[in-house]
Symmetry: C2
């Protein structure tokens, strides 16, 4: 989703793409070349992206070219029509997996292009999920307290504080969404 979304803004090459993904998610998800380039390859096979360089674009894709040696220049990728469609589908997706850790932050990064109703849905779903986690942690801490050493307690307390903060943050985002809705109909 990150790759499609970034290419949706502008065509670019892999190296640039990696830096952007890093910047987008603020350093989470390192996205090594070992996963980026194979991903680009797969997406090309899927027909979601294509190579802009006209000379290169016409090359038969699966033909195993001279394995290693040979000139290599920048390879600029762009979304195809199917790619745009796929990205639109991803933006419109909803359901429990959208508020999981692995998905949520990427979704949020493309919220500006997401439907307002869906935004609210996802934020609320995410908040429920984080609240569940918080309650679980809280219960565990209540059970454990007094029975563990200072450091374990400190670790668990810090974890609890963190999810607590996340719930409040999500609540603010939700509040903003709803007031925006009433203000600008």
């Amino acid at each position: 989703m990150a790759i499609l979304g970034l290419l949706n803004d502008a065509p670019m090459h892999g190296y640039e793409l990696r830096k952007r993904v890093l910047g987008l998610l603020g350093g989470f998800r390192p996205l090594s070349y070992g996963s980026l380039y194979p991903a680009l390859k797969r997406m090309r096979e899927q027909g979601w992206i294509c190579v802009q360089d006209p000379a290169r674009a016409t090359e038969p894709l699966p033909a195993n070219a001279p394995p290693l040696t040979g000139k290599r220049g920048k390879v600029v990728y762009a979304l195809t029509a199917e790619g745009k469609e796929r990205f639109a589908d991803l933006l419109a997706e909803s359901g429990p997996q959208e508020w999981e850790d692995e998905r949520f932050d990427v979704r949020l990064a493309f919220f500006a292009q997401t439907d307002a109703d869906l935004r609210l849905q996802i934020l609320e779903g995410r908040r429920r999920r984080v609240e569940e986690r918080r309650d679980g942690l809280r219960a565990a801490l209540a059970r454990t307290r007094e029975r563990v050493d200072r450091y374990t307690l400190e670790l668990q307390q810090h974890g609890l504080d963190s999810v607590d903060r996340e719930v409040r943050w999500l609540s603010e985002l939700i509040a903003d969404e709803t007031t925006d809705r009433n203000t600008t109909p």
Copy 2:
């Protein structure tokens, strides 16, 4: 380290072990059976742990017993002398990898059994690491600000706030360590 540390407190079986690890790290690191049991197997081969049940303990370890069928009862694991040694080594380990995300929380969970000087070293190393991350994030945010939409900004700001809090938390822990040191020599 988590497994060795928990077995160091008391012998127990796999299922119990899993719940304890979950509790210890407050829900991070799910530790599925698919990774727990193979790990126990490897540790048994290493000679770090052994099976307490006397009937079972004498069984030749690598002999591929009746593959699936056959009675299965609780298998209680305990640390061997080598296992205790290995855990002691882990507790005494120091260096950059100790303040990485993947290591730090488990280390902290066993801080009560860690040497006081080493505790301070690890906390300070960890703080430096998190500060670096914070500064990187801060710089990225300064560069990005004004050029990205509200949501991306919100995401990055929340990420920055989180690491900021972690630095402060670590500073408190460090302060506690040093005052404890002066109070109880």
